[in-house]
């Protein structure tokens, strides 16, 4: 009569998915409401100061902005559920431009940049974190700690500008613009993305590394590690085989947090290096008051955050089955 071991895990995952969905629903309400109460008339901003009241009214009618808010919300969220984020305000007569077609390529670019930054930063952060934990309080640990503190303390735009000044203007090694165009070779893409990736890594490696170090050090004082030590196991084996598997929960949480940040928070880096990502798309859309695009970006950001945190939860539960039995 004993149910299989997988069931509590599956049940927890389903429950988490459900709560993630509810969160997303609430977030969508907040996004819509926040944008609805923003000051400034969108039609007026879109048409510029030269617009006459008559043109504004024509524009609002053509966008359906004269319909009640609730009706607009329902049609928006209904479409979003089917993966259709609606039409951009920039749709001219007879040439509909979907929000998806505007955000799509930008999202792909952002994911590409985020993936490269993650591929570089996650292994480096884990490696440094483990080394620091093993060599706790040595000069290596201290200097890594100091370096990461510096990395966390500097704002991104500052790091970006310093890197740009040093490695593009003074020493012209890399490009100051990260514009990638279709048909560009892999080497040129790598050269162009070097500085933005470095900027992103600078901030997040520090965060992930310190968390890894703390989690492992925490575990290194547990009785079972003492046991392994007494058996004469090498420090490397102890960390990799005994400590690390139990440290995955906090480490995956901080990695997920940083990956979400890579997707959601790279606006500054995208603007500084002129990288055509979704962050810049959202900034553009806010400036030009292209509300469907703003809403679409916000929804994608929220989804990315919720999904990645969900993933971290699942990893935590999978590596620590006790979490699958909430009290």
């Amino acid at each position: 009569m004993h149910s299989p071991a997988i069931t509590p895990l599956a049940r927890t995952v389903i429950a988490r998915l459900g709560s993630g969905f509810v969160t997303l629903f609430i977030v969508s309400l907040i996004i819509f409401a926040a944008i609805a109460v923003l000051p400034g008339d969108f039609a007026k901003v879109a048409l510029g100061r030269s617009a006459t009241p008559e043109t504004v009214a024509n524009f609002q009618r053509s966008l359906g902005l004269d319909r009640p808010v609730t009706e607009r919300y329902v049609s928006w969220i209904g479409g979003a559920l089917k993966g259709d984020l609606g039409l951009s305000f920039s749709s001219g007569s007879g040439t509909p431009r979907t929000v998806n077609s505007i955000i799509g390529p930008r999202l792909k670019n952002t994911l590409f940049l985020a993936a490269i930054a993650a591929l570089v930063s996650v292994p480096v952060a884990l490696l440094f974190g483990i080394i620091a934990a093993i060599r706790r309080n040595s000069w290596l640990d201290r200097s890594l700690n100091a370096l990461t503190l510096v990395g966390i303390s500097f704002p991104e735009f500052f790091v970006a500008y310093v890197l740009m000044l040093l490695l593009a203007v003074k020493l012209p090694i890399f490009y100051s613009l990260a514009r990638i165009t279709p048909g560009m070779g892999a080497i040129e893409i790598a050269e162009r993305l070097a500085l933005p990736v470095a900027t992103l890594c600078f901030g997040i490696i520090a965060h992930m590394m310190r968390m890894t170090r703390a989690a492992i050090i925490n575990l290194l004082s547990s009785p079972y590690i003492e046991m392994a030590k007494l058996k004469g196991t090498a420090p490397w084996i102890i960390v990799l085989r005994h400590a690390l598997p139990n440290a995955w929960a906090p480490i995956s949480a901080v990695i997920a947090f940083n990956l979400a940040y890579l997707i959601v928070g790279v606006v500054v880096v995208e603007v500084v290096f002129v990288y055509p990502g979704i962050g810049q798309a959202m900034v553009d859309a806010v400036r030009s008051r292209d509300i469907p695009v703003v809403q679409g970006c916000a929804l994608i950001f929220a989804t990315a955050y919720i999904l990645l945190n969900l993933l971290a939860d699942v990893i935590a539960i999978a590596t620590n089955p006790r979490l699958a039995h909430p009290r």
């Binding site: 100061r49 505007i102 100051s176 810049q280 798309a281 292209d290």
Partner: protein, 532 residues
């Protein structure tokens, strides 16, 4: 009909003669202006235009929502790239600021200035090789007209009652009233000619037009690559083989890209780093005073601004030069409460020149029956760049004349909806209009849509109607001179300064005198510039 034809040829030849003379005066003036503002690059001035090469221009306000639809062009990205480089209108603003023929080889009007005839150049072709017909012109105008239009240029074309073809090359516009400045209106960058569709309307979606360059690759909000149009109607032009426009919003990124040679030209250089750029021997800074101007606008329909002496006291209580030096770091020109920039046709500089004069300010306060005055001045950073600093300096200046100015910092968001035209005393950023008539009609006539000073002057309104329909240039000069004087003496706009367009470019680029109406050489830098 014959009558009209006769007046047509007469008008045309007269128009050409004056345009040449004006051109000469304008160039001489520009050279003087250039000498005073920026050292002219000797190499650029000497080298004759030559063809070949490619160039990258950086513009700063593109968005991914930008499209080829001329009705939607609001930012300088679309206006420079699509309006000025991809397309042509019937006329264009030449380097002197005059309305010169572009797609039209000539234009003329009936005696009452109500019926305008434009004759297209022979053999005009679109980028796809199709011939430009009169029907394309008509549909291009209709694109902005009609009661349901949401075009940015709707107000411009509202006075057009009828457009019709007359033969293969003539387009005849009938206006609701006489308008001597109609050729200026036709130069507006929205009123470009695109291919008509068989079903009516224009086919703008393909990005096919008549301009000096055709589209190779267009990525909205990121950049546009373009190549030379071999069929271009201006002999010899354009000069570059390829041009690329890049959208770089961040000014530091733009500056770095120029310094590293990734771009050859940047619009809107940062005045804070201008000194550094000026020291770079590879870079030229161009400073051009355009139509754009900044005002502190007073609502003349509410107290205390309904008293002309109070307005005058405030006009004398501001030290414009101090604000230009401190808030704009010298990058603006002093204005004399006249919104008509000096390069606009019929502009005058009304007397007395309003300068900082505490005695006069106090005198006008006494005349208004006041010993002291307290007013609120609403500003935000969007009002115009550094508006808050300018307002705080104004507060200091006015305090010495016994006028207390409370500087109210408003939110940037919604400034134009909730503050401008709502609060009685506000900072305003005006992009300017190329003619006296369009400026006065939209902003200073009673009931004009942007009359933010709520100023009403019967004499001014009468002169406006008279000036618009007056064919004689000398009489128009008289009328517009008088109007500027009235506005200067009585109006509610404290016109503080004319802004400068400050751009930086590599010395690889050569150019002649730069047009001083709109930015980027009146939007046509890609056509007019070449490689040194």
């Amino acid at each position: 009909m014959t009558n009209e034809q006769g007046s047509q040829s007469g008008e045309v030849s007269k128009g050409f003669a004056t345009s040449t003379r004006r051109q000469f005066i304008g160039w001489a003036g520009l050279l003087a202006l250039g000498a005073s503002l920026s050292p002219f690059d000797a190499r650029a001035a000497q080298s004759a235009p030559r063809q070949g090469g490619s160039v990258k221009f950086a513009i700063n306000d593109g968005t991914q929502a930008d499209s080829f639809d001329p009705a939607t062009w609001q930012n300088s990205y679309t206006q420079v790239i699509f309006g000025g480089t991809l397309c042509n209108a019937l006329t264009e603003l030449d380097v002197t600021g005059a309305a010169a023929p572009d797609l039209a080889e000539s234009f003329s009007s009936s005696a009452d200035l109500k019926v305008w005839t434009f004759t297209l150049r022979p053999g005009l072709k679109f980028h796809d090789g199709a011939a430009v017909t009169v029907n394309d012109v008509i549909e291009s105008y209709r694109h902005h007209m009609g009661p349901t239009s949401s075009s940015a240029a709707k107000a411009l074309v509202d006075s057009i009652v009828d457009i019709k073809a007359d033969g293969d090359r003539n387009v005849v516009f009938t206006l609701s009233g006489g308008n001597a400045d109609f050729p200026y209106l036709a130069a507006d960058c929205h009123l470009v000619v695109m291919p008509a569709k068989a079903s009516g309307g224009i086919d703008w979606a393909r990005g096919v037009a008549t301009g000096p360059y055709s589209i190779e690759d267009n990525q909205p909000g990121i950049g546009v690559r373009m190549k030379r149009n071999p069929d271009y109607h201006k002999p010899g032009q354009p000069y570059f083989d390829k041009v690329e426009f890049v959208n770089i919003i961040d000014v530091a990124a733009r500056t770095n890209a120029l310094l590293t040679g990734e771009i050859d030209y940047m619009v809107d250089a940062d005045i804070k780093t201008l000194k550094m750029l000026e020291q770079n021997p590879e870079i030229e800074i161009s400073k051009v005073s355009g139509l754009r101007h900044f005002t502190f606008s007073m609502n003349t329909s509410v107290a205390p601004f309904d008293n002309p002496d109070v307005r005058m006291a405030l006009k004398y209580a501001i030290d414009r030069d101090d604000i230009i030096n401190k808030a704009f770091l010298g990058n603006a020109k002093t204005a004399n409460d006249n919104p008509v920039a000096p390069q606009i046709a019929f502009a005058v500089n009304p007397l007395p020149v309003h300068s900082y004069n505490i005695e006069k300010a106090k005198e006008h306060l006494t005349k208004a029956g006041l010993t002291s005055l307290t007013v609120d001045l609403s500003v935000a950073e969007t009002a115009f760049p550094n508006a808050i600093d300018a307002a705080l300096l104004f507060k200091e200046h006015a305090a010495k004349a016994g006028i207390e100015i409370n500087v109210v910092r408003e939110a940037d968001d919604g400034y134009w909806d909730n503050v401008w035209q709502h609060k009685p005393f506000v900072g305003v950023d005006w992009l300017g209009k190329p003619t006296c008539d369009s400026l006065f009609t939209t902003t200073y006539a009673s009931g004009a849509p942007w009359n933010d000073t709520a100023w009403k002057n019967k004499q001014f309104d009468e002169l406006l109607v008279k000036g618009r329909a007056e064919p004689d240039k000398a009489k128009r000069q008289e009328i517009y001179g008088e109007m500027q004087q009235i506005l200067h003496d009585d109006g509610g706009a404290l016109v503080l300064a004319y802004a400068l367009f400050i751009d930086a470019m590599s010395k690889k680029i050569a150019h002649g005198p730069i047009g001083n109406m709109l930015q980027c050489d009146n939007f046509r830098m890609a056509e007019r510039w070449w490689l040194a």
